[in-house]
Amino acid sequence: MSDWKSLEAKSFYGASARERAIGIVDEGTFTELAGPQNRMSSPHLPVLGEAVEWDDGCVTGVGLIGKHPVFVISQEGRFIGGAVGEVHGAKMVGAFVLARQMYDRIKEEHPDELAERLPAVVISFETGGVRLHEANAGLLAHAEVMDQIQESKGKFPVISLIGSKVGCFGGMGFVAAATDVIVMSDLGRLGLTGPEVIEQEMGKDEFDSADRSLVYRTTGGKHKYIMRDANYLVEDTLGDFHDQLTAIMDAPYDEIVKCRRIGSEELVDEQLALAELSVEMAPKDARDVWAYFGNEDVDQIPEMTTAEFLAVAKRR
């Protein structure tokens, strides 16, 4: 695990939160903050007889990409589905607080090098949103993270990485949407309402949650890339995510924020127009939308490798 180079070749999808945290920043630069030695586990789970984890399913820390201090939040899907409770949420907020303090400090100490030393918050999502065992505290933590994202605007980028087993759903689905840049692999899934709930609302004939292929067409990386909800689609290795982050951080801040899909009146107008288009188009399946945006042979899209797909994909 400590061998960074072999970590880079590892599948992002199968990697643990800690492996991802270490592997998405430059070699040997990651320092975990509020790590397991602090024993900051949830105070709410023991009373319910639910197992605890010392990092509460959220690995936080700092690393470097080039000269950029990168504050990392990495969620662990194997621990209660990566769900967000009080401690987990506070760790997310803490990463933003530190990034902002770092931003202020660099502005003061290295005013000429702000661009090359610009900090960032990177979130490697693997979560279904609120943790039911401490649902109210988890919900309030979500609101704080949204507040922190807005607070970072105009200062430093916030970047989402989505390619882990659980995907990114529930309240964390709109947290991801609110960040500046979204990087996904084709194994990543992003949405608000989980497939089981859609099935419950619409019936199995309309949406069969056991049809994983359908779930991927609706929420998967390739679909989100076509919709421009994901800005970049990368191969499923830690190294590919790391390289993409490096490329993003090399760009000027003004360029990076062009990746946003929401967060201004103009973008809201654009999204509202898309919502109206959805009424006109009335798609039965995401494939209809792909075809609408000019993709040929939409049945083959799920089968394509990432490289094949990127070579032919027509985006919104």
């Binding site: 199968g14 087993k165 084709d186 194994l187 049809d211 994983r212 292929s213 991927y216 799920p302 089968e303």
Partner: protein
């Protein structure tokens, strides 16, 4: 003295009468409209008939089963069902409705809980629970169905049937029924002008019906490599090195499950590393497990005959005709009967998982409240006494057999390897080794004559757990066997009774080997060893020929 001349063709006369009754519903050739199916069944099925609904752990004649549920109980009742499985709800609905009253079967799977309830409530009179071969055998003795409701992919109007690569049980049923002047009805996905190949000849078939939906088929043998655990990988390493390698096992059957999937995915990595390619695992009789694709692609497998097909594997299998049994039309033919026979006589080893092993080494998948039956595992998991050809693995196991001298004297005889893979504890700490099998409680609860034992202790040669391998066949007494079982039983109650001195002596005698004894580095037992880590990897190994069902597609 004059007597009435004895009539010797009552069966044939009865058959003619039934055909006549069905005449109004027959269209062109042997074709009956789907909408007339219930009326057809009312015309040809008589009260008290033995009836077979085709189905196994994979394909189901589900439309015909559904139609049988809808017959008028005044016309059709008290049927004696004689069939491989009770696995879809309709199979039990016919008892609920009073259409059938007795059953002889082999496997019940998802309906096991309901079956136990019906037996207890007297809704079902239980004949016996069989193994597949045993039941097929009885089709030709005392359980010949009068009417068979079968299933195929396509038919022509003359009744020639194409089963695709899921031929499975159809030939054995059709043969038994037709050659006792019974009625064979087949549901197909489509009626065509010409079938791609004739799996069941038209003159064995009385009626064909194009069902409104394609028949149901369960992707039973697909295991997602993403769900394979480190402990399964450890057991797989032990099997490859300590059994396949040790005995040079060339001909074998892999049972269903993640444990065997792990072995399959370790052949191209760990097996290759041990230099075993070509020395083990060349001939399989197994379903086309998708997890075998990397081993096949790496050139491990010379030949493979299948019990049935597996959803999504048709194209791949077709493109590997050197490995699989392929018809003149280019698609695979499976046959459960022949595969089971091969399991008995032509294979050196069976390996599979189980739920419980008792302190003597008997194993069962039964639980106290479910009558699940057997399927084919007991056919595979036994030492068929009729075998007479020698292979190195079979001979070595025979030489090592601790009871040989007592039972055979000084003549050489081989022994088939029957291996059980077992996790000492499953999820939620359910123990894999128990003092008494739940099967015993089930037999009492359900009033069975015999506790449903999957594999008896005297057939079992090896047990593999994460603790190590027990080479049970080397034991010279039951006391010995029980000690060896305690040694592999870990921290279960059975295992906690272990005497360390006794275990040490078993290790010296080579009856119990730990991973360390086998020279296996436990640290390497992790997912990095898998040749494919996801279903997508399997598709990539297959060059895109494997087309997994939607529920397995992570993309």
């Amino acid at each position: 003295m004059t007597t009435e001349p004895k009539i010797w063709n009552t069966l044939e006369r009865d058959y003619r009468e039934r055909l006549e009754a069905a005449r109004p519903y027959v269209m062109d050739g042997k074709v009956v409209e789907a909408g007339d199916t219930v009326k057809l069944l009312e015309a040809v099925v008589r009260p008290g008939d033995k009836v077979n609904i085709e189905g196994d752990n994979q394909k189901q004649a589900d439309f015909l089963a559904q139609c049988l549920c809808e017959v008028d109980t005044d016309k059709v009742h008290d049927l004696h069902m004689v069939q491989s499985v009770l696995s879809i709800p309709a199979h039990l609905d016919i008892f609920d409705k009073g259409i059938a009253k007795k059953v002889d079967f082999s496997f019940s799977g998802p309906q096991a809980g309901r079956l136990a309830e019906y037996v207890r409530d007297g809704k079902i009179e239980l004949g016996a629970i069989h193994t597949y071969l045993e039941l097929y055998g009885r089709y030709f003795v005392d359980l010949t169905p009068r009417v068979a409701l079968c299933v195929g992919v396509s038919a022509d109007k003359n009744g020639n049937i194409y089963t695709g690569f899921n031929t499975e049980d159809t030939p054995v049923i059709a043969e038994a029924v037709k050659f006792r002047q019974g009625i064979v009805i087949v549901q197909v996905n489509e009626i065509v002008d010409e079938v791609p190949r004739v799996d069941i000849p038209g003159d064995w078939v009385d009626f064909v019906i194009q069902a409104p939906r394609p028949f149901y088929i369960e992707p039973l043998f697909t295991r997602d490599p993403a769900l394979i655990t480190d402990s399964q990988i450890l057991r797989a390493m032990m099997v490859i090195k300590g059994i396949y390698g040790e005995y040079g096992i060339q001909r074998l059957n892999h049972g269903i499950g993640f444990d065997t999937a792990a072995i399959e995915l370790l052949l191209p990595t760990y097996g290759e590393e041990l230099g075993l390619k070509g020395k083990i695992c060349s001939y399989f009789v197994t379903n086309p497990h998708p997890t075998l694709i990397p081993a096949i692609e790496s050139g491990w497998v010379k030949s493979m005959h299948c019990f049935g097909g597996e959803a999504g594997m048709a194209e791949y299998v077709q493109a590997r005709s050197d490995v699989f049994f392929i018809g003149p039309d280019g698609s695979m033919r499976s046959n459960r009967d022949f595969a089971q026979t091969a399991g008995h006589y032509a294979l050196d080893l069976f390996i599979g998982g189980t739920l419980q092993i008792d302190k003597y080494g008997n194993s069962s998948t039964a639980t106290a409240s479910r009558i699940a039956g057997f399927g084919g595992a007991p056919n595979m998991g036994c030492d068929a006494k009729g075998r007479r050809h020698a292979t190195p693995g079979w001979m070595k196991c025979g030489e090592e057999y601790g009871m040989h001298d007592e039972l055979v004297g000084d003549l050489p005889r081989g022994k088939r390897l029957v291996v059980q893979l077992q996790e000492t504890f499953r999820e939620k700490m359910a123990p894999g080794f128990v003092d008494k099998l739940d099967a015993v409680a089930l037999a009492e609860n359900a009033g069975l004559d015999l506790p449903p034992v999957m594999i008896y202790s005297d057939d079992l040669t090896h047990v593999v757990t994460e603790e190590g391998i027990a080479y049970l066949h080397k034991c010279t007494s039951m006391a010995d066997r029980m000690a060896a079982i305690r040694a592999v039983a870990g921290f279960t109650e059975v295992g906690m009774a272990e005497d360390p001195a006794e275990t040490a002596s078993l290790r010296e005698r080579g009856i119990f080997k730990t991973p360390a004894d086998l020279g296996i580095d436990v640290r390497r037992a992790n997912r990095d060893l898998l040749a494919a880590k996801s279903v997508k990897d399997l598709v990539n190994w297959s060059g895109g020929l494997y087309n997994p069902p939607a529920k397995f597609r992570n993309w």
